[in-house]
């Protein structure tokens, strides 16, 4: 068992699950999506990105690309929420945009996890 692998795997999968937790639920119902969950998802995603840095292999490059996509989408979602949700109310169509952005990030995270599992299975140690 490799501690580095445990930590990296933990954050990569946690990034996906948190992202899913935020995304899951009625897209127009603001009560079904917690902003704190989005916050946690962003933090964990950034940590996962940092842990993938500096890997020169082909796999490492694709992994970091998926992470960057997820970061970008989640941060975009948070930015929209911050700017248009100043008074605690947000228009339903804008909220839809936030949820669909996080849905996109979820896809990137799923890709990342699949690649990560594939890489792990391929490794002989």
């Amino acid at each position: 068992m490799n501690l580095d692998k445990v930590i990296a795997g933990f954050f990569i999968i946690l990034a996906m699950t948190l992202n899913f937790g935020f995304f899951y639920g009625d897209a127009l119902d603001i009560n079904m999506h917690s902003k704190y969950e989005l916050f946690a998802a962003i933090i964990v995603n950034i940590i996962a990105t940092v842990l993938k840095l500096g890997d020169k292999t082909q796999m490492g490059s694709v992994l970091i690309a998926t992470s960057l996509v997820a970061d970008l989408q989640l941060i975009a979602a948070a930015t929209i929420w911050t700017i248009y949700g100043v008074n605690g109310v947000i228009e339903p169509e804008l909220f839809g945009v936030i949820i669909s952005l996080s849905g996109g990030a979820l896809l990137a995270n799923i890709t990342s996890v699949i690649l990560y599992i594939g890489d792990t299975l391929k490794s002989k140690r």
């Binding site: 902003k35 704190y36 916050f39 933090i43 950034i46 940590i47 940092v50 842990l51 840095l53 500096g54 890997d55 020169k56 948070a78 911050t82």
Partner: protein
């Protein structure tokens, strides 16, 4: 920045980045949880962005104050804890980055990337020189003077620093690397089409051998110049594919042989190496009363040369083993002793000696022997060997008639072989000639040109002799060597030119006559003066000059047009 240095940064920064993100997250979560009080006394919670904003300016020690409302004591307590946490995180991150920038591995990566880039940018002919020292720095200077770019690979960082301090123009890129690693030769551009040669003058024969083998495999077309110290090594290196093998000690003994048998050939050779003018006073070696101090490699080969010429010199050697070995071989006038010992010298009747060669491999010993000898015998011809180039000023101040400088010989020979391959060939051809031949050539050179003619090579090809090449490529045209030595001012007059050598298809014509017909692909070595060199270059390249020289008329399109109509 090269990719790999970027990767090193990213990899090393993983931990600091993670720490920064986690400390931010902890500090923000605390602020989100702890309730605050707004200006109307209502309880409120900071929004996520408010928390991020506050932590960002606090962690970076900018500090805009408490926003959006003044904090409660509970908040303040949390903030004071998180300031230490986040500021430490930042400092850790910055500290790692700074130490990374000073990291040796990282710096070397950057230097290497820079070196590879500057070698790739060289679009002219260049040579690779392995090892940077006084000898090679002199070679670099000569190469640059003849418009050849240079790339240096050296193991020692300090020497590379010296190279950069020297400030050669154009820039000489230097790489700190071990030549044992084949990669370093590749980085130095050995596979480039512009690479013309590689020079490896290491003391270690093994290293030279390795470089030769590796270079030959990496690029079959370049010239490889290496140093060797024995005949066996020389032939091994030649077998391994070296183009130029130099054995400085052998060259010295060969020079003594030349000075002994044919002084004019010796003068010619020195002139071709750019060491001396043709009228310099060379020493004439006496035929008797000769003493050699030091019976090492040089001493032995000198002894044999004198013996071949029927002279038996007296030898002094300090090492008893060497002396017994020599006596076992039947050499009986070897004396064991210290040549600095005045009593011993007097016993050997030093005052009667006419030529004394001081040939040990230690400069201090050589100088000390010379001063002892000089105090007893003021008239003898003293020849000393100087091993280190840096001792030159001391040696030239000592009363020595001739100094043998193996490193200087290496410098001249290497640069000549790479820059002027024809003159190097000529020197080899000279070796089979006799004194009378040399005498004739010498007086002819001095009479027709001057005491220090310049040599120059002309290749009859598309780039170096455009007009001549075009003319010769038409089937029925032929041209004699005589034509291109005519003066541009008046074609009845001739310039001061002596063709020394023509090589065509592996055939060498030594001292070709002016009636010799030129062919495409010929390479000609001329001895001439500056003015004649200009003339020849103009004639073979310029359509108007060439036309005038061939026909005696000015080339004029208008005339042709008028005469036709």
């Amino acid at each position: 920045m090269n990719n790999s240095s970027l990767w090193i940064i990213l990899q090393r920064m993983r931990m600091p980045f993670t720490v920064i993100v986690i400390t931010y997250a902890i500090a923000m979560v605390g602020l989100l949880i702890i309730p605050g009080v707004d200006d109307q006394g209502n309880t409120y919670h900071l929004s996520i962005f408010d928390a991020f904003y506050f932590i960002s300016y606090t962690a970076t020690t900018i500090g805009f104050g408490e926003t959006p409302y003044p904090f409660t004591y509970a908040q303040k307590m949390w903030v004071s804890a998180s300031i230490y946490l986040t500021v430490l995180g930042w400092f850790y991150g910055i500290g790692t980055l700074v130490s990374l920038l000073q990291d040796k591995l990282f710096l070397r990566e950057i230097a290497q990337a820079k070196f590879i880039r500057s070698v790739k940018n060289i679009k002219e002919d260049f040579v690779i020189i392995l090892g940077y020292n006084e000898t090679t720095s002199e070679i670099i200077r000569k190469m640059i003077d003849s418009n050849m770019r240079v790339v240096v690979v050296e193991k020692d960082q300090q020497r590379i620093d010296y190279l950069h301090l020297e400030g050669f123009i154009p820039h000489v890129p230097g790489l700190v690397a071990d030549v044992h690693i084949a990669n370093s030769l590749e980085y130095a551009g050995i596979k480039s089409i512009h690479c013309k040669g590689i020079i490896s003058l290491f003391e270690s024969n093994l290293l030279n051998m390795r470089v030769t083998l590796a270079s030959r495999i990496l690029n079959p077309h370049i010239k490889i110049a290496v140093r060797s110290s024995t005949d066996i090594e020389t032939s091994n290196l030649l077998d391994a594919g070296a183009s130029i093998v130099e054995n400085p000690l052998q060259i010295i003994s060969y020079q003594i042989k030349m000075a002994l048998n044919s002084p004019s050939l010796f003068k010619l050779e020195n002139w071709l190496y750019n060491i001396d003018t043709l009228d310099c006073k060379t020493f004439s070696i006496p035929k008797e009363k000769i003493m050699i101090c030091g019976f090492g490699r040089l001493g032995k080969s000198l002894y044999n040369i004198f013996l071949e010429n029927g002279i038996e010199p007296v030898v002094i050697e300090i090492d008893m083993d060497v002396v017994t070995e020599a006596i076992a071989k039947g050499i009986d006038n070897v004396v064991c002793g210290n040549a600095e010992d005045r009593v011993l010298l007097e016993k050997l009747r030093i005052e009667e000696m006419k030529l004394i060669i001081v040939a040990t491999n230690n400069d201090t010993t050589n100088l000390s022997i010379v001063s002892t000898i000089r105090s007893v015998n003021r008239n003898a011809l003293v020849i000393a060997r100087e091993n280190e180039l840096s001792d030159f000023s001391i040696f030239s101040a000592a009363k020595i008639d001739h100094i043998f400088l193996p490193s200087e010989i290496l410098i001249h020979k290497t640069t000549n072989a790479i820059i002027n391959p024809l003159s190097d060939k000529l020197i080899r051809l000279l070796q089979s000639k006799d004194e009378q031949w040399g005498q004739q050539l010498l007086s002819r050179l001095i009479k027709t040109i001057n005491v220090n003619p310049i040599t120059f090579e002309l290749n009859i090809n598309k780039t170096e002799a455009v007009e001549l090449y075009h003319y010769l490529s038409k089937s029925d045209n032929s041209i004699k060597l005589n034509e291109i030595r005519k003066s541009r001012r008046d074609r009845q007059q001739y310039n001061n030119v002596i063709p020394l050598l023509i090589t065509r298809c592996e055939e060498d014509i030594l001292l070709p006559s002016f009636e010799c017909e030129l062919k495409m692909g010929d390479r000609i070595l001329f001895a001439c003066d500056e003015n004649s060199k200009d003339d020849i270059e103009y004639i073979v390249n310029n359509v108007y000059e060439f036309h005038y020289i061939i026909t005696g008329e000015e080339r004029n399109y208008l005339n042709k047009f008028i005469s036709r109509s």
